[in-house]
Subunit: 423 residues, 2 copies
């Protein structure tokens, strides 16, 4: 085989969809001939075989100016994990991110993280539960938390942006230490929960000794379809969530609100963003005993249409100052009024979660895995402070988890995740 043939043969081999057909020939389900590769790819740092494969089904590109999973539209399932870093040096951490770069590109192409070895006396290189599934629009978004920069052994203290610090305590917070903070974050989104889970599992597995899991949360979004267009999804209070978002297709808006610009922060973060994560329990039983008029006054929007109160269309201008019979149409203690009162905008990209029964109360442990992206944490903080003790929604929700991460810019071909940080 020529080198070119070998490379194209490899691409085929490691596609999860193609693999089974080839494996069928051998009968034993193992690919013959790939014995030399596992480990070698990782040691190379940048994987010469991996690229954004235009022929992969339902795929999102890994390489680009920005990381995937931020401006990527309409995510269905998320597996979010917050990690503790146990690496003993910057070199170890850098090596981990190089391996993750290769694996992420493979996974987002719908492939195994590494081709299987023909040696069945070894554990399989890939855990295999996504075998036969395609890329499922998998996106992977990596971030680093403030605590990572406090680890002296990593020598990254001088690289810490001053705005990267734990979110302040907000008035109604009742945080559970089991859902707070983290040194490193991975957000895996996909059309298929098993594909998202598989990605995180394999990334964590390959980083054994360098990270441990701190907390994680799954979530989902369901979309009403209008033709082929997904509509704004509803949260578990049945209200649309994300209506006021910046347009992710509008570069100017995204640069203004979401992407860190040169000079905004430490230079390694240019093209990156800050990710706020909040696990918000929603007290469904209390909500379900509330009159529709009070529900709508709480949000400041109509439930079914998503329109501002007194208006018809979801995208209609809020008209915050409208007065009828001497009263403001949008109540001044409504969620949307308080959010719009400050001028800051954020990119909300949240998910519903349902985690069984709350043992203490016998109610649903369900709610929102709130995720927002913004170029500076203060955008989120200002809005959250505006809610303060005033927001009528406070009666129905409790913030249980909280974390802030700085998400790297995108990866150029030949480079790796966080290259600008680990120089």
């Amino acid at each position: 085989m020529s080198e070119q043939e070998e490379q194209s043969f490899f691409k085929k081999e490691i596609s999860r969809r193609e693999m089974l057909k080839i494996a069928g020939i051998g009968g034993a389900g193992i690919i013959i001939g790939a014995s030399a590769l596992p480990g070698v790819l990782n040691a190379l740092g940048a994987n010469p075989f991996v690229d954004d494969d235009p022929s992969a089904e339902n795929k999102v590109n890994f390489y680009g100016k920005h990381q995937s999973g931020i401006a990527t539209k309409d995510p269905e399932h998320v597996y979010f994990v917050s990690l503790n870093c146990t690496a003993r040096s910057k070199a170890e951490l850098k090596e981990m991110f190089k391996v993750w770069t290769n694996q992420s590109a493979e996974l987002m192409n719908g492939r195994l993280v590494e081709p299987y070895s023909s040696n069945t006396l070894m554990p399989p290189a890939d855990t295999g539960e996504a075998t036969g599934l395609d890329a499922s629009h998998l996106t992977l978004t990596f971030g680093v938390g403030p605590s990572l920069f406090e680890k002296k052994e990593l020598g990254l203290q001088h690289m810490k942006p001053k705005e990267l610090k734990d979110l302040p305590h907000f008035p109604k917070d009742q945080l559970d230490p089991d859902y707070v903070g983290g040194d490193i974050s991975i957000q895996a989104c996909a059309d298929d929960p098993q594909v998202a889970f598989h990605a995180v599992r394999n990334l964590v597995r390959s980083a054994r000794g360098k990270v441990t899991m701190r907390w994680s949360q799954t979530g989902f979004n369901s979309y009403e379809m209008k033709g082929k267009r997904k509509q704004t999804p509803r949260n578990l209070f049945a209200f649309k969530d994300g209506t006021g978002n910046p347009d992710v297709d509008n570069v100017k808006e995204m640069n203004k609100h979401v992407w860190v610009q040169a000079g905004d922060s430490k230079s390694w973060l240019s093209g990156g963003t800050y990710m706020a994560v909040r696990r918000i329990q929603m007290h469904l039983e209390t909500w379900d005993r509330t009159a529709l008029s009070a529900q709508e006054a709480t949000f400041g929007r109509h439930r079914d249409s998503g329109a501002p109160l007194g208006k018809k269309g979801e995208m209609d201008d809020m008209g915050l100052d409208r007065v009828e019979n001497g009263s403001p149409v949008i109540p001044v203690n409504s969620h949307v009024y308080l959010a719009k009162q400050v001028k800051d905008r954020i990119l909300r990209r949240s998910f519903s979660y349902s985690d069984g029964v709350d043992r203490k109360t016998g109610t649903f442990d369900a709610g929102l895995l709130f995720i927002s992206f913004q170029k500076h944490p203060k955008q989120f903080i200002n809005i959250q402070n505006s809610f303060g003790r005033v927001d009528k929604l406070n009666e129905y929700i409790t913030h249980r988890g909280s974390a802030l991460f700085a998400c790297f810019p995108g990866v150029k071909k030949g480079s790796y995740l966080g290259a600008e940080l680990f120089v």
Copy 2:
């Protein structure tokens, strides 16, 4: 409006897909004209408007000889809930199941549980988060546990089948009391997790005072597609789960293994089935350090193809007695060998779950929500006892939850869930 026109108008009104279009006219998102209905439908017991609507998109029929969600193929998401019964009389319980009958038929047609009232000073009749979503192949399966029959106030003691009792303690069980038992069960399966959640939430809500939530578990299955045919799904160990199932399209097989026949048990259960539920934690990290050959020897099958060891096709005959070089090809302590050694067959219909991080160990809290249907609990018990302390899979899994329910037969039009039990 004539009665006929009124009925057809109603059907339109209460479709979740149609609703928004109609609501758009009013602007306020409330349907005008349905004010008289909520509560009335419930009081009627059987809802004259509800039927299996052949025009509903992606729907499964509620009415039939057997309940849905048992022989229904290829479920994607499950929301399973186990309930405590707090009803004070058989009449109360019967009333609850009548309401659930109406609501289930509505939900499985992709509608609201009840039309909205025009009175916005009332809580909405439906919690609304499935608005705009279609039926999503929702199935609802209802069962009753042994403890229900011990409640003297219900007067059902004499109706208890003798085989409906708590599953025995199996050798390697490490049950968590938070995931054991229950008086009543609801299994909601759908293509969309929000549709399944919405169904359970509304059923539990309407039964307030009659049930409380005991425990619940969500789960998912992902399917490799061959053309339009879904393949046997893989569990989180990457092995196919459900290969040896009876053919759900084969009435004879289903009658032999799954559906309770006249004379088999109490007569109210004819056409019903027994549902075994086990929450099985899978120790993924241990598994992932195990050689592929040992993984395959544990199951007795090849991982990728699902074929019996030494064979090519998933559906190939096991050939349990095959010997090569003096050793059995299928190890006698493998999961499949021990399962096939007993003659009993069950209908496995399991789901993977991932519930974040196990606090004690820092490992994934993930595994299998094992569900099986069989005409007699002993079929499951015999297989589980065959695993005993011998099954090689025991090293990698821990049974944490357990429950057994008797699932009603299907509902005839005009009748209701459990009618034969509550006579």
